[in-house]
């Protein structure tokens, strides 16, 4: 055959490249796939918030009526104290080390994506009760390398403190700042004042403390739910209607009735985490 070595190499090279590229190209054509677009880019579907949530089994959620909290100034603090006491949440009196399970924050921090233009002054200056959103699609669970934080079938995002290695990936992943790290031993006391971080008289000996070096967060009172009780904050808010707790998957539950009849918003719905806490503003 009359072929120069140079020509042979050219043909061999081209056919090799074609051979490598073809299967990939073919696969794209066969599946008709397009490259995944960023989930966080938003869009009408994500803006609707909860979207198509897992419709099976129980799915716990809250409705927080911020108008009630605005009227009753002491109520929020009452709920916060009750929660923090029964769960032995330490108070380090230091913003940097702060441990929060449920707390109050300003409008701009709570609802970062809502229009801020020409909003009512009252709404702007009101404090909003925030806690772990127990998302349907929790980013913290994906970020945790040891599976110390996990989503239970009933939608509660729980922490297994035995497994937490304190890497704080979950804190970086959580868009709501709902997780706190124990920089100090919660059972210890302040070196200067001798004040215990958990007041001795408020110590709840039926619930463990945490140790230094673990991340902690709201557990939606799983230990109470297991005994048929309401979460402590809801119990504390009583029948003021400030906090409504229930099964989002039960069409006859009180929470669903409230959700069906009132306009509610969620925190950062555009992120697609599908929070299960709804706010009446």
């Amino acid at each position: 055959m009359d072929m120069k070595r140079r020509d042979f190499l050219k043909i061999a090279g081209i056919s090799t490249i074609a051979g490598i590229g073809a299967p990939a190209a073919l696969q794209v054509l066969l599946k008709g796939e397009v490259p995944a677009s960023s989930f966080a880019s938003g869009g009408a579907e994500e803006e609707t918030g909860h979207g198509v949530a897992a419709p099976v089994g129980r799915r716990y959620g809250f409705v927080i009526d911020t108008r009630v909290f605005a009227k009753d100034q002491g109520l929020a603090q009452k709920c916060i104290n009750a929660c923090h006491r029964i769960h032995n949440v330490p108070d380090f009196r230091n913003k940097k080390d702060e441990i929060k399970w449920i707390w109050e924050t300003g409008y701009a921090n709570a609802f970062t994506s809502k229009s801020h233009n020409l909003r009512s002054d009252e709404v702007h200056h009101r404090k909003y009760m925030v806690l772990c959103n127990h998302c349907d699609n929790p980013p913290c669970v994906r970020a945790c390398p040891t599976k110390a934080t996990f989503k239970r079938p009933d939608g509660i995002v729980a922490m297994d403190y035995h497994r937490c290695i304190g890497c704080r990936f979950c804190m970086a992943a959580c868009p709501y700042g709902s997780r706190s790290f124990n920089w100090r031993d919660p059972r210890g006391k302040d070196d200067k004042t001798g004040r215990y971080f958990i007041e001795r008289k408020h110590l709840n000996k039926d619930f463990p403390t945490r140790m230094r070096g673990v991340v902690e967060k709201c557990n939606l009172c799983v230990e109470r739910l297991a005994k048929g009780k309401m979460p402590k904050c809801v119990e504390e808010a009583g029948n003021s209607g400030a906090m409504i707790f229930g099964d989002l998957n039960d069409p006859h539950s009180e929470i669903r009735k409230v959700l069906a009849s009132t306009f509610t918003i969620q925190r950062k719905p555009e992120l697609g985490t599908k929070p299960s806490i709804f706010y009446i503003v």
Binding site: F150, R152, L203, K205, D206, P208, R210, M211, A226
Partner: protein, 125 residues
């Protein structure tokens, strides 16, 4: 070998001294700890042998079923129901951590870190 007469006996004495604790205590594990058992109770959730050797396995299983599977069904022993919990189960009967847990853990040189978070029954922090 130079100075073999000094080195060899020296080595023998050295090895003998180093291994002294081993052969002096061989076959003698010291007095076994006497644990204070809960008064008025005859049966634990599992038999004595299992509890003695594998209570930590059981505790880990309980921890996983309760925390991760959300299965808090109570365990029954001798007709009584107990919560699957260290603080709310075990320590309700074994109400003296020092005389029950520590006694043996010290003897076996085991340092569990349960109590970094959980409360022993008579804790006065």
């Amino acid at each position: 070998m130079y100075d073999g007469g000094k080195i060899v006996p020296g080595l023998i004495i050295f090895v003998g001294l180093m291994t002294f604790p081993l052969w002096y205590n061989s076959g003698n594990a010291g007095p076994a700890p006497k644990l204070e058992k809960p008064a008025g109770k005859t049966a634990c959730v599992k038999d004595t042998h299992f509890m003695r050797t594998s209570h930590m396995v059981l505790l880990n299983q309980w921890r996983d079923t309760v925390l991760r599977d959300g299965d808090r069904t109570e365990v029954t022993a001798a007709g009584e129901k107990y919560e699957k919990s260290l603080m709310l189960g075990c320590m309700k009967c074994h109400s003296d951590k020092k005389k029950f847990c520590d006694e043996c853990h010290q003897y076996a040189a085991v340092k569990p870190y349960c109590w970094d978070c959980h409360f022993p029954p008579k804790e006065n922090l």
